[in-house]
């Protein structure tokens, strides 16, 4: 409860800051302080110190897994704000509002990691996405940004409608909004309602839309490309992973119960292959690094879908690992990307000569995304592959996934080739020493987690 209330509260504080505090550059400091407070509150909650005892009537169910994920999301946001805070200021006059919306998104994330009621799922998804519609269009004078916001809004509201329809059908089928309840247990003996299956299919479609899994991914490239890079960075990482956490809960609780009536594994395996196929093949042909990262986020979503396929303990641990690896690496890549004046591959030519620290950290982020050992990305992919192999079925999905991972090396390494092996004079915005330090710290976290994953997982148990 701490995190939900603190994030909403600090959002309102940020809102008031917009006219109480005149100095533009102090907003990001206030936001950073807020995130620290939020992180501390969440960690208190993890160890049983809840400041607000509010009875949610089983609507929310707190788990250690959810708390750890909240901490990861909040910490990633903190890193994001620290690294790209200056660039957010350049976006326009409404810096404080930007941070307000970020806090509201985090509130949605915290709801999604703890929901136990389909209405809470709906509420969380809405709180998560409505600020994003605004953030996507926050570059008001840019036509592409406007286009992206409108597209996102239309498609997003359509998928929300689908979700509501699914929830209604599930209510019709089971007579409850709760994910886990005694009523549902007894359903096992009375057969599974047809309505519930249809409802779950609707929910599946709309959740696939939210996490940009094929064949519901078509909005992703345009929106990620059109939105300002700082927003894309946030949207493609923390928001997307939160969607997966919500999706995983839906799968492990409801879909696993109904698996006798419908073969979810088959459906998921098709979605996985399609997502990997679309994401990877189209990413190869991109000329802009930003667009490449948009498509790569689709292909990474394909790997995260492995967790939903297998629904075992490897899946949940793997998703945590994936959220760390994927969020941090992508935030780092975008932090450098927003400093680049030319975001095509050619724009990166010769970066290693002029900015060795940026190039080296970027290379580590790309290694992590490609899944090279000794980075967190490798262990994330490892857990995902292992989770499917552990189920003992559909091993061909793993082999296909591995081949797609090899394809992904092609476009990730194109950036490395540009930075290290080609000559050029990359044009960049100015940045300070602290920016470099932040990137180095980020890269160090990725390597430490990659070499000693226990540091992360101990948190789940102690």
């Amino acid at each position: 409860m701490n995190a939900i209330i603190f994030s909403a509260g600090w959002g309102i504080i940020m809102m008031f800051c917009s006219f109480l505090v005149k100095n533009q550059s102090s907003y990001r400091h206030i936001a950073a302080v807020g995130l620290l407070v939020l992180l501390a509150a969440n960690i208190f909650d993890t160890y049983g110190v809840d400041f607000f005892h509010i009875d949610s009537g089983k609507m929310l169910a707190y788990t250690r897994f959810g708390f750890v994920f909240n901490s990861i999301a909040i910490a990633s946001t903190l890193i994001y704000v620290l690294l790209t805070g200056r660039d957010i200021e350049r976006l326009g006059r409404y810096t404080a509002e930007f941070f307000t919306l970020v806090f509201f998104v985090l509130c949605g994330v915290c709801l999604l990691s703890a929901y136990n009621n389909l209405l809470m799922l709906f509420l969380g998804i809405e709180i998560l996405t409505i600020p994003l519609y605004i953030l996507t269009g926050s570059d008001k004078r840019n036509l592409k940004s406007n286009e992206a916001a409108l597209k996102y809004f239309l498609m997003g509201s359509f998928s929300t409608g689908l979700m509501l329809m699914g929830i209604a059908l599930m209510y019709g089928g089971t007579g409850t909004f709760l994910l886990e309840s005694s009523r549902l247990q007894s359903n096992l003996y009375h057969g599974i309602s047809f309505l519930e299956i249809v409802g779950l299919l609707f929910l599946l479609a709309s959740m696939c839309f939210k996490v940009s899994a094929a064949p519901f991914h078509f909005w992703t490239p345009d929106v990620y490309d059109g939105a300002p890079s700082v927003v894309t960075s946030f949207m493609a990482t923390i928001v997307k992973v939160a969607g997966f956490i919500a999706f995983l809960k839906l799968c492990t609780v409801r879909m696993s119960v109904t698996s006798t009536a419908i073969d979810w594994k088959l459906i998921f395996s098709i979605i996985i292959i399609l997502t990997l196929l679309f994401g990877n093949i189209t990413a190869i042909f991109q000329q802009s690094v930003k667009r490449m990262l948009a498509y790569s986020s689709i292909s990474q979503a394909g790997f995260m879908l492995f967790a939903l396929f297998s629904m075992n303990e490897y899946a949940s641990k793997g998703l945590l690992m994936y959220s760390v690896a994927y969020c941090l690496a992508t935030i780092g890549l975008f932090a450098v990307l927003v400093k680049m004046k030319d975001v095509t591959f050619e724009g990166y030519n010769g970066l290693a000569k002029t900015q060795p620290v940026l190039a080296a950290t970027n290379a580590i982020f790309l290694f992590s995304l490609a899944g090279i050992p000794l980075t967190a990305g490798f262990l994330a992919k490892y857990y995902m592959l292992a989770s499917i192999i552990k189920t003992g079925t559909y091993t061909w999905v793993v082999v296909a996934g591995v081949l797609f991972a090899a394809i992904s090396v092609y476009y990730y390494f194109r950036v490395i080739q540009a930075m290290y092996f080609k000559n050029g004079e990359p044009q960049m915005e100015s940045f300070g020493r602290s920016f470099k330090l932040g990137l180095v710290v980020l890269a160090a976290i990725i390597i430490i987690v990659g070499a000693f994953p226990q540091a992360l997982f101990n948190w789940l148990y102690f």
């Binding site: 809102m15 008031f16 057969g191 309602s193």
Partner: protein, 133 residues
């Protein structure tokens, strides 16, 4: 009266066979619409003249481009009105349950009003309701 008794007599089985009538109805409805649309398309006389293809706007000749910038103020005020109007609706269920909810409910509604108020202060401070610049 008899028909109501008949409704009560139906056995609730909950298997998918029960949905067959609904399915038939959906197919029939879609088929009817499609048939009528195709039929009118085929049967109806077709006369295409330049006047007929023009936009019809209450008999007044259309002129100029519809996509002209207009003042956002009115739109903004309207949307804010809708927002606060909808939120006020929450008071109706509270009014009905005023007694049973007691002090705890009162405090919760007070909190709700406070949040409400912060939003209101925010839009006033931001100058959203200022009509003239």
């Amino acid at each position: 009266m008899n028909s109501f008794v008949y409704l009560l007599d139906t056995v609730v089985t909950g298997n998918s066979a029960d949905y067959v009538p609904i399915g038939i109805q959906i197919i029939f409805a879609a088929g009817f619409v499609a048939t009528v649309m195709i039929a009118t398309h085929l049967l109806g006389p077709k006369r295409k003249t330049a006047e007929k293809l023009e936009n019809f706007a209450s008999g007044i000749e259309s002129h100029g481009n519809a996509r002209q910038p207009l003042a956002i103020k009115y739109f903004l005020v309207a949307i804010l009105f809708v927002l606060f109007d909808v939120e006020v609706i929450f008071f109706y269920p509270y009014a009905v349950n005023f007694k049973s909810l007691g002090w705890y409910g009162f405090i919760e509604v007070l909190l709700f009003v406070c949040f409400f108020l912060t939003g209101f202060i925010y839009i006033i401070k931001k100058g959203a309701l200022k009509w003239e610049d």
